[in-house]
């Protein structure tokens, strides 16, 4: 079953990712966001395939359920109209393509180099058990966890400050 699901999710993810970036049918930012949701959900599905149930759930809750809703909220709040058809910037296009090619080259080296990551079977020892994850998080990674929490606090303060009517 796995390959079927993998390819289904992978194709779905790639297609909708492309549609996020460039959608020939609709020039509507909401559509872009909705396809990003589909990508997120596909990735979540892939997480399930990878036995990372907790991550899958968090992926859905945080990305699909919160982040993207926030995006939608902002899009609707700012009343962003459908984009006009605009000519692509030549410079942007060139730099985009060259950057992509460069990245692909870099990755190619990493992926297909000798002794690359070609494991096929992960053992089931670390089977994504939530409690195991939690233990590791709160012991080995406690410091980063706390730092992250501070980061969240800072972000929260920043957002409150930013969204005040008058920046003085």
């Amino acid at each position: 079953m796995d390959p079927v699901f993998f390819y289904t999710f992978a194709v779905l993810a790639v297609i909708s990712a492309v549609l996020v970036v460039w959608n020939p049918l609709a020039r509507n930012t909401v559509t872009n966001a909705m396809f990003l949701v589909v990508t997120m959900l596909s990735i979540s599905g892939l997480f399930v395939l990878l036995q990372a149930f907790f991550m899958a759930a968090v992926q859905v809750i945080v990305y699909a359920g919160a982040v993207m809703v926030l995006f939608l909220f902002v899009i609707m709040l700012l009343d962003i109209q459908a984009e006009k058809k605009r000519r692509l910037r030549l410079g942007g296009l060139i730099s985009g393509i060259s950057l992509s090619v460069a990245t692909v080259l870099i990755f190619r080296n990493a992926l297909f180099a000798e002794g690359g990551a070609d494991e096929t079977t992960g053992s089931m020892v670390f089977e994504g058990s939530t409690s195991a994850l939690g233990k590791q998080l709160f012991t080995q990674y406690l410091l980063p966890f706390e730092i992250i929490s501070v980061l969240l606090l800072v972000a929260m303060l920043g957002v409150i400050l930013l969204s005040k009517k008058e920046l003085k």
Partner: protein, 361 residues
């Protein structure tokens, strides 16, 4: 996964949907009758004995009404939105244990280890239906409804999630598993992990005061209120408030599409009630007559399902009752309540529980 698994799962799904759909239908009737009684009226009593066939008539009406799509709506989203509203409510049921076991099968469609996370993941998706309905209608009231609901849902999801953490902190208590469980339960729970919902029921079996509602009353309260907010029920029905937004996000909908919203809302209510039953009211157990053990025969199995439905009914009635009792919140009050009251309270609850557990160990 074997074919048999699939067949069993399908059977469960069919059975469950067969159970839930009439429940939805009759909760609508119940809502109408109860509201009528509260307002000194009679309510629908013409179709069938005591108006019991009313849902049939309603359904027929929905099916036969003209499905009107206004001009200038964003068609794709307009069609998608009702479905997106209904689907998550139904999907949540997948992880809810609505009975102990029948014929040796656990009465839960998918006995996930991350059951509660699953429900939250799904619930968090249910906002899309409403937001997209608001966006797709291309009309100001639905739009406002959509905006309101997205903010409201994100806000209360957090409080809701936080409120159940202490519950799981308690159920994950190693001491409990070391001593407290009977053999029947141990076998029943075999292969499940911490966040599995059946474990919660197991934890609550025993005496009445093992129920989470008594152990975590604050968590229950927050969860209850958040459930009201998540299902857009009064007093938190700001996305659809008739008086200001003319029914909000589904203003422009009619016929079956409207019915889907309706179904979605009631399904969500039932799902929320079911969750509360599982999390706080001991699920399908009762603390006497040995009903707090997984069923060993068909009769108890069925009885457990009946108990579950009974408990669920209490919450449904409560949902309905509250609707006709409390006035609608103002938007800022709603946000204040979510962010400034419930979130700190839930956090405090976590800390208190943690401290208590730490002292006990």
């Amino acid at each position: 996964m074997t074919l048999q698994d699939i067949l069993i799962a399908t059977a469960k799904i069919v059975a469950f949907v067969g159970l839930v759909l009439p429940m939805i239908a009759y909760s609508v009737v119940a809502e109408r009758r109860i509201s009528a009684a509260i307002q000194d009226r009679i309510g629908p009593n013409r179709v069938g004995p005591f108006g019991l066939l009313q849902p049939l008539a309603d359904g027929l009406k929905f099916l036969l009404k003209e499905d009107f799509t206004p001009n200038y709506v964003r068609k794709a989203y307009f069609w998608m939105a009702p479905a997106l509203t209904m689907i998550p409510s139904f999907v949540v049921f997948a992880v809810i244990p609505f009975g102990s076991s029948l014929f040796g099968e656990k009465m839960v469609i998918a006995d996930l280890n991350v059951g509660i996370l699953f429900t939250f993941a799904i619930v968090s998706l249910s906002v899309y239906g409403i937001v997209l309905a608001g966006y797709a209608s291309n009309s100001k009231y639905p739009f406002l409804g959509g905006i309101r609901s997205s903010a409201q849902m994100i806000s209360y999801e957090i409080a809701m999630g936080m409120s159940v953490i202490p519950v799981f902190m308690l159920t994950s208590d190693p001491q409990f598993y070391a001593t407290g469980l009977s053999e029947a339960w141990t076998t029943f729970l075999a292969g499940t992990a911490d966040l599995n919902l059946s474990r919660i029921i197991a934890y609550q079996s025993g005496s009445l005061f093992d129920w989470m509602i008594f152990k975590q009353p604050l968590a229950f309260l927050i969860f209850l209120v958040a459930a009201f907010a998540e299902t857009n029920r009064l007093p938190f029905d700001l996305p659809e408030s008739e008086t200001e937004l003319v029914a909000g996000y589904h203003t422009e909908y009619s016929s079956m599409k409207f019915a889907l919203f309706f179904l979605g809302e009631y399904a969500a209510m039932i799902a929320a009630s079911a969750l509360m039953v599982v999390l706080f009211l001991g699920g399908w157990t009762l603390p006497f007559w040995g009903l707090d053990e997984p069923a060993s025969n068909l009769f108890t199995g069925l009885l457990h399902i009946a108990i579950f439905i009974g408990k669920l009914g209490i919450f449904m009635v409560f949902f309905i009752w509250i609707r006709w009792t409390l006035p609608r919140f103002r938007y800022d009050q709603l946000m204040n309540l979510g962010w400034k009251r419930f979130l700190p309270l839930a956090l405090a609850n976590i800390i208190v529980t943690a401290v208590w557990l730490w002292f006990r160990s």
